[in-house]
Subunit: 361 residues, 2 copies
């Protein structure tokens, strides 16, 4: 277990400063205080005060998501949550939860037994029994990238898809691209539907042509690329947006195998900014999800709900990280020509289908 | 200035309990602690600690909104903000801000001069110069019922329109209503557009007929009713949703003057649940905006932004308060018959128009 001295050494500040940062002393900057709290969490420092009271405990419960190594998607989310909890003097348990465990243990009873005041659920999908139980639970809970209707004890948090897709489309438009394809993740997930709607809105807002065959659902794996990229290229797409960075890695690979170079012939933009993104060749331009901030916001939102503020959802702003996978458009003649360039008539019913069946996010 | 003794008397607890509640003692319930903090704010108690440090100061800035009397829309919002700020040891200034004051004082410079770490803006509209300055400001700010794009220092908060309209439509549908009209507030405001989209989605989700002449924009005043209610009744509407409670009061009045009784002939539902709502005859069924919680969430969200969490928006859940203005539907023959009953073809482009020009909320 780390000591205050180790925190002081790591940051090159005095022991007195660390004490002020950890114990709410006021004559240090908010910035420095955050750095001290962050170092305390990273080094595993536990105050005597929080060791005493195991009454104030939260949990991060994780299904279907890697979080244990520094390059995994969940790592910084969990770290951010723990930082915010530490700063407000809550202890945190972090547990992976398998599906058969959920089947064997009712959600409410298990949370009660563990004496958690609230839980943050990462990676739970519609097939997970505990997500179904969240519809009616009275346990304060926050879901990442998901939501339930009309339950004041449960909030959803995520990244603002609208702003994300708008940033990507704007970047490409400024580089002269017009035929911009979107290879989304799996159909039928809430987050994929939001991103599809956001893509359609962004294209329309910029008066760019929308072709139904250039806006498709795939799967959240690199392999999805090979089923769709050849069609995109035949139709003259000069840029491809992707539902996540893994899909983007497959798209780059697939373009290359078909004799198209990235970014000279085709620009590619990913989503998430996982550590893999900057190691690709070329390094991937991508939408960064603010993962540590999502974790902190998960904790802030959970504490709001515990404080009887009925949050329905909270969205955080993404940022566009520009690397080598985008360049000025080099127009190509399409082998297959679409008859319909855009049209509200084609797009609106699709948007409408999406919105009519779920709350907007 | 109130003392701890007065807080203890108000709540019927001991002085020691009040002290624990105010100073973070752990062996009292979270519930009681909240009650103590709430009483402290209401009674105007200021701790010696917070009197010392005027460094940690937030502000609530208010344009175009009443907040000073207990029956005004803004009163509980401001109170909720002050409660959450007190609990985390921030001082709060509350100021009405006139438009000419904004013209004379640039936003960033004024906030800096007053030494506020962040501000909560209530009632600012697109005509207010400070809202324009929020697009590029670096001052942490939270806007009620508004938003700006891509500025990580500014978040929007509000009530979940989707859930609100869905609750209203579901309630009426269960009472047998099918022709449900919507008299919205003013066109061109972000919040009105969201409510219109949410109404259209809710009607479609319930497979109820949507008629363009039954879904109209008016103004946020009681007088708006007389221009639209006669048309609704001619077309056979048996229920009318309203953009706020003032509009609803005008709708009830107007129905009566045309010989229709509420709720026997026409059911009416408002929005906001201002104190006026339960004093109407009949008492108004309405969507309650959680005003104190909006204030608390305004403070929580502002502190998140100060802590470098780039919140884009936070939505809170409304609740439906059922009073005497709704009853089982008594079908009437319409004098004017519409040719088009619903159709995605009519509704989708309207939804699309709304979404294409603004971020979803």
């Amino acid at each position: 277990m780390a000591t205050m001295k180790e925190i002081a050494e790591r940051l090159g500040v005095s022991l007195g400063t660390v004490s002020k940062g950890l114990n709410g002393g006021r004559d240090i900057s908010e910035e420095l205080r955050q750095d001290i709290l962050n170092a305390a969490v990273e080094l595993g420092y536990t105050s005597r005060r929080s060791r005493k009271k195991d009454q104030r405990k939260l949990a991060v419960l994780i299904a279907n998501m890697d979080f244990e190594t520094e390059d995994s998607f969940g790592y910084e989310i969990v770290l951010g949550f723990r930082q915010a909890a530490f700063a407000t003097d809550w202890a945190v348990d972090v547990l992976p939860i398998a599906r058969d465990f959920q089947q064997a243990h009712p959600f409410d009873a298990f949370i009660k037994q563990e004496k958690w005041s609230g839980v943050f659920l990462l990676g739970f999908s519609f097939e997970d029994p505990w997500l179904t139980e969240c519809r009616t639970t009275q346990v304060p809970a926050v879901l990442l990238d998901n939501a339930v209707n009309e339950n004041p004890h449960v909030a959803g948090i995520g990244t603002d898809s609208d702003e994300a897709m708008n940033m990507s489309v704007t970047c490409l438009m400024e580089l002269g691209h017009e035929k911009i394809a979107f290879l989304n993740g799996s159909a039928g997930s809430r987050i994929s539907d939001h991103r599809m709607a956001a893509y359609l809105s962004a294209m329309h807002r910029h008066r760019l042509p929308i072709e139904p065959n250039l806006a498709v659902y795939g799967y959240y794996v690199a392999d999805a690329a090979k089923y769709h990229v050849p069609g995109f290229l035949d139709r003259g797409a000069t840029a491809i947006l992707c539902g996540n960075d893994l899909i983007a890695s497959g798209v780059i690979e697939c373009c290359r195998s078909l004799g198209f170079s990235v970014p000279e012939d085709v620009s590619v933009i990913g989503f998430d900014d996982i550590p893999l993104a900057e190691q690709l060749a070329p390094p991937l331009t991508t939408i960064r999800q603010p993962r540590a901030a999502l974790g902190r916001s998960g904790c802030h939102t959970l504490l709001s709900i515990i404080d009887h503020v009925p949050v329905s959802r909270t969205l955080l702003r993404p940022s566009l990280i520009v690397r080598g996978s985008v360049a000025a458009a080099r127009p190509r003649v399409a082998k297959k020509q679409e008859n319909d360039r855009d049209s509200v008539e084609r797009v609106a019913p699709e948007l409408y289908r999406i919105y009519a069946h779920m709350p907007m996010f």
